[in-house]
Subunit: 231 residues, 2 copies
């Protein structure tokens, strides 16, 4: 009833929500996440502030929508880049994932901060909405780990960490050993550490060419952490 043949009403409503999100993204880009103001959005739309609440329940819900959209946008971009690679070329798959993440992040620093920066104060992302889109990139890395594991026997990890990793392995239900999984976690966090340092300006102008630095370190992660040969 609501998805087959949308009524003009539903069309207009969807368009209004799309407009609100578009302007919200612009504000996000120019001012930052905490400066996101429903009143400013209303002004931009030539609308009184209370009217915005017809379309968006609250500021936090708007943030959630933007986060979900951002996760999907990032996921789509990275999936698109990764599927171009030949399946057997593990190194180029890793490179494609990393480069796509960085490219997306530097193009949309505010949205990247929303996903991977400090959590917005007072706001906690509802996992039931953000959880699924938030794992799309992760899943590509997991698939890569499976192919890295293939051929060599899985190695366990000792202690509490080993049990945690086993639980993760069983949760995602793929054939990857604990030790490779741990390598994947480090590669994953290292890559986001690199991107975050660049996007959040932690390098303090050490590098004139961030892309070169990132590509270099991405290969170093592939070699030193994932064990992929870069020759």
């Amino acid at each position: 009833m609501s998805r087959m043949n949308p009524t003009p009403r539903q069309r207009a409503r969807a368009q209004a929500i799309e407009d609100i999100k578009r302007i919200a993204r612009e504000q996000l880009a120019s001012e930052g996440s905490a400066a996101l103001s429903l009143r400013a959005i209303a002004r931009e739309l030539g609308i009184v502030s209370s009217a915005v609440y017809r379309y968006v329940p609250s500021r936090d819900d708007l943030l959630t929508m933007l986060i979900v959209d951002a996760y999907n946008s990032l996921g789509e971009a990275v999936e698109e880049a990764e599927t171009r690679c030949p399946r057997e070329d593990l190194l180029s798959r890793w490179r494609a994932i990393g480069l796509a993440v960085r490219e997306w992040a530097v193009a949309r620093p505010a949205e990247y901060a929303l996903l991977y920066g400090s959590p917005v104060p007072g706001y906690h992302a509802p996992v039931e909405q953000t959880g699924d889109p938030g794992t799309r990139v992760m899943m590509l890395v997991v698939a890569l780990l499976v192919d890295i594991q293939r051929g060599s026997p899985p190695t366990k990890v000792d202690g509490v960490l080993g049990r945690d990793l086993t639980a993760v392995r069983e949760a995602v239900a793929v054939e990857v050993g604990e030790e490779v999984l741990a390598r994947g976690y480090l590669a994953w966090t290292s890559m986001f550490g690199l991107v975050s340092f660049e996007v959040f300006g932690q390098y303090n102008g050490s590098f004139s060419d961030f892309a070169a630095h990132f590509a270099y370190q991405l290969d170093r992660i592939a070699l030193g952490v994932l064990g992929l040969s870069t020759t």
Copy 2:
């Protein structure tokens, strides 16, 4: 005149500023950086809001003070841990730095977010005040890199990245080759990637024992990136 024998006035003033910063830190911890409110601080102090402006020029200046204090607190903690290690035990020095950073971060997540999270919207840290305290931890890593370099001939890095690294090497004026410097950057960002993922809740409950995970990955960085033997 102003630092030898402080007058009672100066004492009271310093105490008032200290109280403001203390309550600000509490608010930061309980609510987050954007929720930091001068009016709320005034309420807590039993003071009218305008009176706070006698001690703190603005909200942004208060944030700057907190950032400088946080950098110094972190730097002090890490320096303290690192100097305990025997100079020749490079691995334990790296471990000490990493563990101290993590410990400090998980104990003060809000202040850590202030330093290494997404930048506070509308606020840009004045480099002339935050620059120096912000490099204290970095300097320990640089010193470690010098000792890693010692004995082996320095290796250059090609291209733009190589020139950037040479500029950094000349800026800090220490005997460390470009290639080791690049390793240091990756180790540095990887470590902060790990800490940020934990503090900012990106792991989504994968690990029950973050400390074990961190210690494990810290050693892996030492081995795979810094080239320190963990045997």
